[in-house]
């Protein structure tokens, strides 16, 4: 009763115009009227960059080079989903060597992106500081370890692509060139040393006081027998979906919300989660025993309904990426050829891989020369957007709408950052219908 009276007539509007520590530009808008949440929106206001339009008329290599420019933090994911779709169209299957090396390169991106998120973007929230530089004054060891792991991820990508942002090595049929034994050994050595650091990192994240906020949500991720999903599998959810990747769009629908330049996606008309926690929830049985034991030891029970376990899920995937890359590269041999030949042709194909932030789905059609006729890209952040808004609504209610504005704002930001939203990715896909006469 008294609660109600206190809230009576209180109208606050919170606007956080530039969200710090997220990739890209976004804002959070909250209105509370008489103790009720009258408005909540995660506003994404990056101008659309129309990327899908820039793919039309272009040959495969240009598509691979261009889609990378959608996101500097996960260019490998874009290149891999694209090349997979194009290979499906041209009917070419990369060698087992190339498939394994793509997995290693992708591990590099998980390692880089997750370390960046944990240390530079998320951790400050849990230590009451604003930035990683401030955090480094409290715990230099942890921040340095994180930056080293991030650097190792970058090195893995550069091994196959020359550089970690917009690498140049991927082509239809495999890679343009194969790294030398010497270069591989140097990275392998670093991976060996990083195993202990990955262990320590996971324990460190487990020691954060993560809020306990169980919620109801649907997880969606790739799943492939016997391996933790990165580059292949069927799309599975804990709401009973089990789809081949080319049928995803029979259940997933995108629409444009009026407050955002990014499209939102729903799965059978409901919000859903993609990303590290969704992957872990659906694929815990595919983890190596050692990692499973470690997660049990730090007290993570899977599947988890606590969204804040995403941080722990990222740490687990860092552990996985380090160990997986090491075990694949251990028996590295330079192949006869890094790619198989192909003939570009007309067709339609779908590619779907697990970007650091979750399912990244591409579909292309090509003309007789194999050049792109139509392109459609569904990135993880637009898929998570409805879930983020749902989460915000629930978490803020649980926190108590009578809390001071600063606290509401901080908590809201923390909830959003926990998803590691990549606003650059999400806004590059405003689709246009151009009627030519």
């Amino acid at each position: 009763m008294s609660e109600d009276r206190k809230l009576e007539g209180r109208k606050i509007r919170i606007r956080v115009p530039v969200l710090a520590r997220v990739e890209g530009e976004g804002a959070l808008d909250l209105s509370i009227e008489n103790g009720m949440l009258s408005e909540l929106r995660l506003e994404i206001y990056e101008p659309p960059r129309f990327f899908e339009q820039f793919l039309i008329g272009n040959p495969a290599q240009d598509v691979i080079d261009r889609v990378a420019r959608i996101c500097g933090i996960c260019p490998v994911a874009y290149q891999m989903s694209a090349v997979q779709a194009l290979e499906a169209i041209y009917g070419v299957e990369p060698s087992l060597w190339a498939q394994a090396m793509r997995r290693v390169m992708y591990c590099g991106e998980w390692l880089q992106s997750h370390s960046l998120h944990i240390h530079l973007l998320a951790a400050p929230d849990f230590f009451g500081v604003n930035s990683a530089a401030e955090l480094a004054r409290l715990d230099a060891h942890a921040v340095r370890r994180g930056l080293r792991l991030q650097g190792l991820g970058n090195a893995l990508i550069a091994l196959f692509g020359g550089r970690s942002v917009h690498p140049v090595g991927v082509r239809v049929g495999g890679f343009h060139s194969a790294p030398s034994l010497v270069d591989v050994s140097a990275v392998t050595e670093r991976l060996r040393e990083a195993r202990t650091e990955a262990d320590e990192l996971l324990r460190w994240v487990a020691s954060w006081s993560l809020p306990d906020d169980n919620q109801d949500f649907t997880s969606l991720a790739l799943r492939h027998p016997g391996e933790y999903p990165i580059l292949r599998g069927r799309l599975v959810s804990d709401a009973g979906h089990d789809l081949p990747i080319d049928q995803f769009d029979t259940h997933m629908r995108e629409f444009q919300a009026p407050h955002s330049t990014a499209l939102h996606a729903l799965l059978d008309d409901k919000p859903y989660l993609v990303g590290p926690l969704a992957r872990l929830n659906l694929n815990a049985d595919c983890l190596p025993d050692e990692l499973r034991a470690l997660l049990a030891e730090v007290g993570l029970e899977l599947p988890s309904r606590n969204m804040f376990h995403s941080a722990l899920a990222r740490a687990a995937e860092i552990w996985l990426a380090v160990n997986e890359a090491l075990s694949i590269l251990q028996d590295y041999a330079v192949p006869d050829s890094p790619y198989v030949e192909h003939q570009p042709c007309e067709g339609e194909g779908v590619g779907c891989t697990e970007a650091p932030r979750g399912v990244l789905w591409h579909r292309y059609t090509t003309d007789a020369n194999g050049n792109v006729k139509t392109a459609r890209i569904v990135p993880p952040t637009s898929q998570n957007q409805a879930r983020i808004e749902d989460d915000l609504r629930q978490s803020l209610l649980r926190l108590g709408l009578d809390k001071p504005e600063d606290e509401l704002r901080l908590h809201g930001e923390k909830v959003i950052r926990n998803y590691d939203p990549c606003i650059s990715c999400a806004t590059h896909f405003l689709r246009l219908r151009v009627v030519r006469s």
Binding site: V18, A20, R21, V22, E23, E25, E46, P47, P48, R49, F50, F51, Q53, F54, G57, N58, Q61, D65, R66, R69, C71, G72, I73, P75, Q112, L116, L120, L121, P124, N130, S131, A132, A133, A136, A140, V143, L147, R148, Q150, G151, N154, G161, G162, R163, S164, V165, H166, V168, G169, R171, H176, S177, P258, T261, S424, L430, L432, R433, V434, R436
Partner: protein, 261 residues
Amino acid sequence: MATSKPSIAVHKFSSCDGCQLAFLNLGEDLLQLMELVDVRHFAEAGILDEEADVDIAFVEGSLSTPQDLERIQQVRAHAKYLITIGACATAGGLQALRNLADAKEWVAAVYAQPEYIASLDKVQPIRAAVPVDFELWGCPVNGRQVVAAVRALLFGVAPIDAKDKVCMECKRQQAVCVMVARGEACLGPVTRTGCGALCPSFGRACYGCYGAAENANAVSLGMRMQGLGLPAEQIAQHFETTTNQSPLFAQATARWRGQHG
């Protein structure tokens, strides 16, 4: 003492965030840099003060909304030096390809949809709106470039401008020429160096991500591509790179598109 440190800001406009990563990917050197300079604004790194006066403002991304035009004026007003980082800020970036398309048609399509998306007719590099003190090319720029720029300015000297062409770098590395050996249409002869001839060293053609080199001859490269048997449209496509608004590349595109039409 702390106040006497030189200050920097990192601002973002329309981009993929890849050039800011040149800072965030410095590894442990990032912590050192943050000790040497006072970082006043860098949203992605959690440091927010857009209006702070700084010695150097690094700007990533291109201008594509009316709000961008206002914001860049603010950035300029608060910075002693303004350095653009990357192809988006320096030449518009890949998204400037929309300038080559029938921009009106696209923009109309946007306005026909929701009212809240404001968009300029053309995507512009930073230089189109405010004076720029130094431009760093690359898509993306790399850590060496940004650190060298900070260092040079801290010591009060102008950063060194890379003027050579990728082609020269290839020769220095004695890499196999992909154009001669495989007949591939390589932009190395007209692209500025800075990447270390990455693509040719991977056995593939350069696609010009560091922008047009000075004194480069795009006309003769286009003729050479024609000699390799490429139709005009494909030659034009080769110049439609992430740095398509480099004047040289823009001219080359127009020239070969013209012949096509």
